[in-house]
């Protein structure tokens, strides 16, 4: 029995070593940084230990802006992208002709580079003194005043960011959901049909519960992914996100790490720990809900 235990740990050793060195240790280290007040990365010194870093970060208007942006982004894009992906996947699995073609088209954004796509979005949505982007051309065609989505009002910029984020995460969700839908045994649908079940009831009472494990997986990873958005914002609004009021939490951490004159690693660490706490809480809530609603 003992020997067996020993063997088991041996097999786990490589994974434990890697996770320990590259995940657990940095995590602890970040936590340590976050409580060291006045840490100087050049001299590796600090004044004392306390929660000042947290109180600074929580009072920093840039952090609060980033927190607000991130939450808006998460709350809008995760439900919307999941619902949209579900809708498209159901559509895809109910057509027969050209399904492969459409699947490929919907998957294309996944293999393109986010920064390149961001550039395209910027061109589509921008408005300068000389030219309007395609979106603004369409707006003015319908008699509306063009809006500068990239450098204009807050809500316009947030709209583009959400639009872009949804567009970027859709392909993966569609891919996962179409395969989940395909794996539902068609006998369930045939049984429902024989019993005269309406399409709507079939969808909500059979399809959704059947793919609920996949749906929850997508929602949980979607939340985590959306909380960590950074490159999307950079792709659209450039690197000075604070000025554009479009910063995200990860963006704030990045700015704090590499900002002017060597940065403030302690503030960055405190922000990172706060983000970690938020993501952990949301994920735990998600898991609790999913336990109640995923049945097998």
């Amino acid at each position: 029995m003992d020997k067996k235990d020993w063997k088991g740990w041996l097999y786990l050793l490589p994974a434990i070593l890697f996770l320990g060195a590259f995940m657990v240790y940095p995590l602890i280290d970040v936590f340590v940084y976050s409580v060291e007040e006045g840490y100087n990365s050049a001299s590796q010194t600090f004044f004392g230990i306390g929660l000042y870093n947290y109180s600074y970060v929580l009072r920093d208007p840039y952090f609060l802006q980033a927190l607000k942006n991130t939450f808006i982004l998460v709350l809008i894009t995760v439900p919307l992208s999941t619902a949209l992906a579900l809708l498209i996947s159901v559509g895809l699995s109910s057509i027969e002709k050209l399904r492969d073609l459409y699947q490929t088209i919907y998957f294309l954004p996944y293999v393109t580079n986010t920064l390149a796509v961001g550039l395209v979005f910027m061109i589509l949505f921008k408005k300068t003194a000389y030219t309007d982007g395609l979106v603004n051309l369409i707006l003015s065609f319908f008699g509306m005043t063009p809006i500068d989505f990239i450098d204009g009002p807050y809500w316009a910029k947030m709209f583009v960011l959400c639009f872009y984020t949804i567009w970027v995460v859709l392909p993966f969700k569609i891919l996962i959901l179409t395969s989940a839908l395909a794996s539902v045994n068609p006998d369930y649908y045939r049984a429902a049909k024989v019993d005269g079940t309406s399409k709507l009831r079939t969808f909500f009472s059979i399809t959704i519960p059947m793919i609920s494990p996949t749906l929850f997986y997508l929602i949980i990873t979607g939340f985590i992914g959306a909380f960590k958005v950074y490159s999307d914002a950079v792709a659209l609004f450039g690197t000075d996100l604070n000025a554009a009021e479009m910063n995200t939490i990860v963006g704030y951490i990045y700015d704090m790490l590499y900002g002017n004159s060597g940065g403030y690693p302690s503030f960055a660490s405190a922000a990172a720990i706060l983000l970690f706490a938020v993501v952990l809480t949301i994920t735990c809530i998600n898991l609790l809900i999913s336990k109640k609603h995923v049945h097998y």
């Binding site: 045994n185 049909k193 519960p209 049945h295 097998y296």
Partner: protein, 375 residues
């Protein structure tokens, strides 16, 4: 509800790109199923029996032909409007719903004035559950049930809406041997109690024989024979039906009719009147052999298998189409089985002659007096 099927045909487009020939799954089906009977649709895998069931159900549209339930033409009615209950081979119970919710499901689909009150629905569900004896399991999930219990839930779900016709696709194939025996009795009982016209599909001839009022034997989409189980067994219309029914399977020989006497190899068996001199296929049921010291058919003994009530003599004969001949004789004769050559007389009513080419049955007359002497 009486079911009448006229000229029902279903073809599927060919997957084979070279031939472009359509696959005919069901070929000019004609059958009349009397009201309140249990009908077994029997055939080997891929013979189109499940397709036929799906056509009856309305999950598939026929290529041509008509289906009547009673006097109503239901050929173009979709499945939900036909009033059929369907029990799937894998039961298709919704895994996220409890037994009760599963049984309620069909009732909750009703709309308008057909919709029952919650209390009535619950009563009907309980009634159906009681009929299949799962009323104590109502709050369980399907995954917490055994295969046999799941099967019962599936039947209850199909019965709860009082279907005119109950259709079952291989209802016993997912159960183990003991449970299968039990469940088939159960299906028989439920069918008798509800008196719902029931059609079930099976590839297991024993299953079909044991509980059906009527069996329909199919091969390659074509009905071979329709009849009561015993009648089909005793009077098969062709070689396929004869070989498909019965365990152990019927013994097939190459035979010859010369001057109205049947020969198996060199052995003259008995005179067969009314058959022209020709090469024939001869099929003898295992129970058609009589151990005789100077019997007509001489076989080389291979082994004797003791089954308790009776024994099986495994032997070979030069005219046999199968590698071995299996004959069942009473266990009392065990000591009498010779060690080298076993000689049998054949019961004429257990021997069938078939055309060598077409496999069609060749009726013959035998001498009754001789039969009595042997019997």
């Amino acid at each position: 509800m009486k079911i009448v099927v006229q000229n029902l045909t279903k073809t599927f487009p060919s997957r084979n790109k070279n031939t472009h020939e359509d696959v005919i799954a069901v070929n000019h089906f004609n059958v009349e199923i009397p009201d309140g009977k249990l009908i077994g649709l029997l055939g080997p895998s891929g013979c189109g029996k499940s397709t036929a069931l799906n056509l009856l159900c309305g999950l598939l549209k026929p290529t041509s032909g008509k289906i009547f339930f009673g006097d109503d033409d239901v050929t173009d009615l979709p499945a939900e409007n036909r009033g059929v209950g369907f029990v799937f081979q894998n039961y298709a119970l919704y895994p996220h719903l409890t037994v009760k919710q599963n049984i309620l499901f069909p009732l909750q689909n009703r709309k308008g004035k057909d919709r029952l009150s919650k209390k009535e629905m619950l009563e009907k569900a309980k009634e159906a559950a009681k009929l299949v004896q799962i009323d104590s399991l109502m709050e369980r999930k399907p995954s917490e049930l055994s295969g046999g219990q799941q099967q019962r839930v599936a039947i209850a779900r199909a019965l709860v809406k009082r279907p005119k016709v109950l259709l079952m696709d291989e209802p016993l194939s997912n159960l183990d041997a003991r449970l299968r025996l039990q469940t088939r009795e159960e299906i028989r009982r439920i069918q008798r109690e509800t008196k719902i016209t029931t059609v079930f599909v099976t590839h297991d001839q024993e299953e079909a024989m044991s509980i059906s009022d009527l069996i329909v034997v199919m091969k390659a989409g074509v009905i071979q024979q329709i009849g009561k189980p015993q009648q089909v067994y005793d009077d098969p219309s062709n070689l396929f039906v004869a070989t498909f029914l019965g365990t152990p399977p019927i013994n097939v020989f190459r035979g010859q009719v010369k001057e109205s006497v049947l020969y198996l190899g060199p052995d003259p068996i008995f005179p067969v009147e009314g058959v022209k001199d020709q090469e024939v296929s001869v099929a003898i049921r295992p129970e058609g052999f009589l151990l005789r010291e100077n019997g007509a058919l001489g076989c080389k003994r291979n082994a004797v298998e003791v089954m308790g009530r009776d024994i099986t003599v495994v032997s070979t004969h030069e005219a046999s189409e199968n590698p071995t001949i299996r004959s069942i004789i009473s266990a009392e004769n065990r000591e009498k089985v010779p060690s080298e050559t076993v000689r049998f007389d054949i019961k004429p009513n257990k021997l069938f002659l078939f055309d060598r080419e077409s496999g069609e049955r060749l009726p013959f007359k035998w001498n009754e007096r001789e039969e009595k002497e042997n019997g």
